[in-house]
């Protein structure tokens, strides 16, 4: 009696174990992305409905961690990722220079806005991410209007910027803001007690909870929480941070056809409509921003107000920029 119980327990366990390990061997499209679940979840469902033969798997993490992972995979001889989709544009120029990317001009290229210089299809912008100032409306009563408002007592000791070593949007923002306003800008923020947080999601969550009064925040992450009732608001100073998030296909991917289908899908009208529903700017002009995101500017307005980005220079100075910023914030 007892032995049969034990036996059945063991055999079930082996069966379960075997099944689950078997599942790992199945071929899948691996998309490494820094986009959060709120955005990729909807895309995944819609894509798999359209292409039921392709099983797609998102590895969501900060751009810094993903690049670390890719570097480690490269060393071990095989890059697991098929598609990379983050906001750390210099990484893409670097990967392209290393010859790791497959140039692919998407089917509907004509309908797309392209903010990236030297375009050859190696990577294509999928969204125009914007970063503004998120603040907790329970604690901050007057909305900040300019970048200089962050130096005011309203944000004393509790303004957060994500760690640029972890987050691609944070790295791009730090690089662009320091080019535009000089490092004095961050020194002044630090003098007002600004802190370096972890990931781009974490600083917004801490702002929603009230641990931070405000943060340098990614559009859709903030608006998703506003949608769910967080006491948050998002505002944009006149000089805007517009950071494109490109997607690229790895040259050695064993699933190139599936990868191309995925890139085409996220750039299609259907894909872009899903992306816009999350509260970020599309790259297609024929996709409308939903009414409820009144904080978001139009694509034309955003492009007009956007601070200029010199990608080549930013790529060359990456390590120095991160170090300089970390030094200032940890002083």
């Amino acid at each position: 009696m007892r032995s049969t119980k034990l036996l059945s327990l063991c055999s079930t366990a082996i069966l379960l174990g075997g099944l689950s390990f078997g599942a790992f061997a199945q071929q899948k499209l691996y998309v490494y992305t820094s986009m959060k679940e709120s955005m990729v979840g909807g895309l995944k469902t819609a894509f798999m409905k359209k292409h039921p033969d392709i099983k797609i798997d998102f590895q969501s993490a900060g751009a810094g961690k993903l690049m670390a992972k890719i570097a480690a995979e490269r060393q071990s001889g095989k890059i697991l990722a098929d598609v990379l989709w983050t906001s750390e544009v210099p990484d893409f120029y670097q990967l392209k220079a290393n010859g790791l990317l497959l140039p692919y001009i998407p089917a509907e290229i004509k309908a797309l806005t392209n903010p990236l210089p030297d375009y050859d299809g190696s990577f294509t912008a999928v969204r125009l991410g914007t970063l503004g100032i998120a603040y907790n409306t329970r604690h901050v009563k007057e909305a900040p209007k300019t970048w200089d408002d962050l130096k005011k007592p309203a944000f004393k000791g509790a303004f957060g910027i994500a760690n640029p070593a972890l987050s691609g949007t944070a790295y791009m923002s730090v690089a662009v803001l320091s080019k535009t306003f000089g490092w004095e800008f961050f020194e002044a923020l630090r003098a007002n007690g600004a802190k370096m947080g972890k990931g781009s999601g974490q600083v917004v969550d801490d702002t929603a909870s009230g641990d931070l009064l405000g943060s340098l925040a990614v559009d859709y992450i903030t608006l998703d929480k506003v949608d769910k009732g967080a006491t948050l608001n998002l505002v944009y100073p006149p000089e805007m941070l517009v950071i494109p998030s490109p997607a690229a296909i790895f040259k050695d991917s064993p699933n190139i056809d599936a990868a191309k289908k995925f890139v085409d899908f996220i750039l299609s009208k259907e894909g872009q409509s899903i992306i816009v529903e999350d509260g970020t700017l599309p790259v297609r002009t024929d996709v409308k921003i939903p009414e409820r995101f009144k904080q978001l500017p139009s694509v034309e307005d955003a492009m007009k107000r956007a601070m200029k980005i010199d990608y080549q220079a930013i790529m060359a100075e990456k390590e120095g920029t991160i170090k300089k910023f970390t030094d200032i914030m940890q002083k």
Binding site: R2, S3, L6, C10, A13, I14, L16, G17, L19, S20, F21, F24, K28, Y32, K36, E37, G41, K44, D57, F58, Q59, S60, A61, G62, G64, K65, M67, A68, K69, A71, A72, E73, Q75, S76, G77, L80, N136, A158, A165, L166, K198, G199, S200, G201, Q202, V203, V204, D205, D206, A208, S209, G210, D211, L212, I221, K225, K228, G229, A230, T231
Partner: protein, 563 residues
């Protein structure tokens, strides 16, 4: 011994070779690689690099933090554990039996989930308790800042004090009460009896429990990672994690990590050595194995206040964090207040049925737990048999190998496994679920050996001899006599491994790949990504799975004992 019996001995001997092989490949090889990589660079013995790593500010800060934190936790945990142990064994506290069981509950709750709950309650500006005091009661600042040394020590104490509690309450129960009685008859007062008789008798138990706390806290990743990062408090396991994750997995960072691992192993070895010394000294024959009925101290007027103290303590350390986890897991977004319109089932639904990451993680943890528990259970019974029953030369070495990971911190095992199985020696299972399985087997083998050895020691040799004399082959004797007798030990080993593996974080956080997150990793990374409500919801589900598993064990084990 003729040739026929020789051939019959074939099976066990083959098993012996196999078990030695398994232990060397799974345990010894990765461990050796750590020391090798720490001290050898490009084929040369190199101490300069080791010294360079040790001289870095972050290294000695991490070591210092590890010592401060584990030292603090050891002191507070020992005081709390001893006090409650005394209260439930030697006083007339009401509901003692229930209280004793309740004090063991923190043992089965993962400390990092507790840390998450306390972050939600006591983070300086957003913690719900701090908000209550600041917004409603008009305090100027937070009541308590959990992002501090004191906060981390407090949280770890809550989950680690049972180490001392179990040891001390056991010793107090087994202590011969006539010793105290004769002292009282000779005219000693309570204070003198406590000082001269009770404390010296239970001191070895207190110390060995204290060292267990220290060992555990030293190697503990979760609580420090959750509560310390905000204010820059990190210990060695956290530093190893950051080295592995943030520096592109380059060999230089792995080497730095191996040096850190060596420091950790040496510290752990020192603690183990101290424990052995204490235990060697503490062999007091006066603590008899029988269970006496010790005299109880009458608490009189303090009975009810002490009961209230226990209830408040349990309420604060078990009920409050658990309720917080479930409530935050039901919030629409983190930071809202707990009103009905802010609560939703959507997060739980999303976690369980819609989100691959979380669903995979539950699946991974359960299958990894089952697989590692089964493998170590069977391997453990074979190896224990060799150690306990067979007269083979070199079995001491076998025992040492099997028990080694018991004293080696999880981060070190993970690091060793990375060095051994990421392609340098022909096998590359990095990024797959197999590498986590190998690490779990190495880590939990000692649990299985302990449980199985204990069971095997109670099987008298004469039983096997009788079977053999009656003409049974060795394999038959094993199958028909030994295995049925040690089955309870095997079942115990299975659950001793399955449950910790289910909630494991320290090892898997260093080894996970795109589809191989465990529950612990998923909760931790969701928290790190700022998805607080999802991480709380998953933590709540994990708690349910753990408690169900725990209840299941109790059922099975009591059935076994009853039968």
């Amino acid at each position: 011994m003729n040739t026929r019996t020789q051939s019959r001995f074939g099976t066990p001997e083959l098993l012996f070779m196999l078990s030695v092989g398994v232990l060397i490949v799974v345990v010894a090889f990765p461990m050796l690689l750590i020391f090798f990589n720490a001290f050898w660079v490009d084929g040369h013995f190199n101490v300069a690099d080791v010294v360079r790593v040790l001289q870095r500010k972050e290294t000695y800060e991490a070591l210092l933090n590890s010592l401060i934190l584990s030292g603090g936790v050891t002191v507070t945990g020992t005081i709390v554990g001893t006090f409650f142990a005394w209260l439930v064994t030697r006083t007339d506290l009401p509901f003692k039996k229930t209280m004793k069981l309740l004090f063991l509950v923190p043992f089965m709750l993962p400390a990092f989930i507790g840390a998450l709950a306390w972050k939600m309650l006591l983070s300086p500006r957003a913690g719900y308790i701090n908000r209550l005091f600041m917004d409603v009661l008009g305090f100027d600042g937070p009541l308590f800042d959990i992002y501090s040394y004191a906060g981390i020590i407090l949280v770890e104490t809550m989950y680690l004090f049972p180490f001392v509690f179990i040891q001390v309450s056991g010793a107090l129960e087994r202590m011969d009460p006539t010793l105290e009685e004769s002292a009282r008859i000779s005219g000693a007062d309570l204070f003198t009896i406590t000082r001269k008789i009770t404390i010296p008798l239970v001191l070895p138990s207190i110390l060995s429990g204290a060292l267990l706390i220290m060992l555990y806290s030293m190697a503990h990743f979760g609580t420090v990672a959750v509560l310390g990062v905000e204010t820059g408090i990190y210990n060695i396991p956290v530093l190893i994690y950051e080295k592995i994750h943030q520096s592109a997995g380059s060999f230089d960072s792995i080497r730095t990590a191996t040096v850190l691992a060596t420091v950790l192993v040496l510290t752990a070895a020192l603690i183990m050595w101290m424990q052995n010394r204490v235990l060697a000294k503490g062999k007091y024959q006066i603590i008899a194995g029988k269970s006496f009925r010790p005299t109880e101290l009458k608490l009189r007027g303090l009975r009810i206040p002490m009961l209230i103290l226990c209830i408040v303590y349990i309420g604060l350390t078990i009920v409050l964090p658990t309720v917080t986890i479930f409530l935050v897991g039901g919030l629409k977004t983190y930071g809202l207040s707990f009103t009905l319109e802010n609560l939703t089932w959507a997060n739980y639904n999303h976690i369980l049925f819609e989100w691959d990451l979380t669903r995979d993680s539950i699946w991974n943890s359960i299958s990894l737990g089952l697989a590692s528990a089964l493998i170590t259970m069977f391997a453990g019974v074979i190896i224990s048999y060799v150690i306990v029953k067979m007269k083979v030369r070199g079995k001491g070495f076998l025992e040492f190998l099997g028990m080694l990971p018991f004293s080696v911190p999880g981060s070190v095992i993970a690091l060793g496994v990375i060095l051994a199985w990421s392609g340098k020696f022909g096998i590359n299972i990095y990024n797959t679920v197999w590498i986590i399985l190998v690490a779990y087997i190495a880590r939990y083998m000692a649990f299985s050996l302990k449980a199985n050895s204990a069971a095997l020691e109670q099987v008298h040799d004469s039983l096997v001899e009788a079977a053999r004399a009656s003409g049974a082959s060795m394999a038959q004797a094993l199958r028909d006599v030994v295995v049925p007798l040690v089955r309870p030990g095997m079942v115990a080993a299975f659950f001793l491994i399955f449950l910790p593996a289910l909630r494991e974080l320290t090892v898997s956080v260093l080894l996970y790949g795109p589809t191989t997150r465990t529950i612990g990793v998923a909760i931790y990374t969701l928290n790190e990504d700022g998805e607080t409500v999802y991480s709380a919801a998953l933590a709540g589900i994990a708690l349910i799975i753990i408690v169900l598993g725990e209840v299941l064990i109790k059922r099975l084990v009591t059935q076994k004992n009853g039968a």
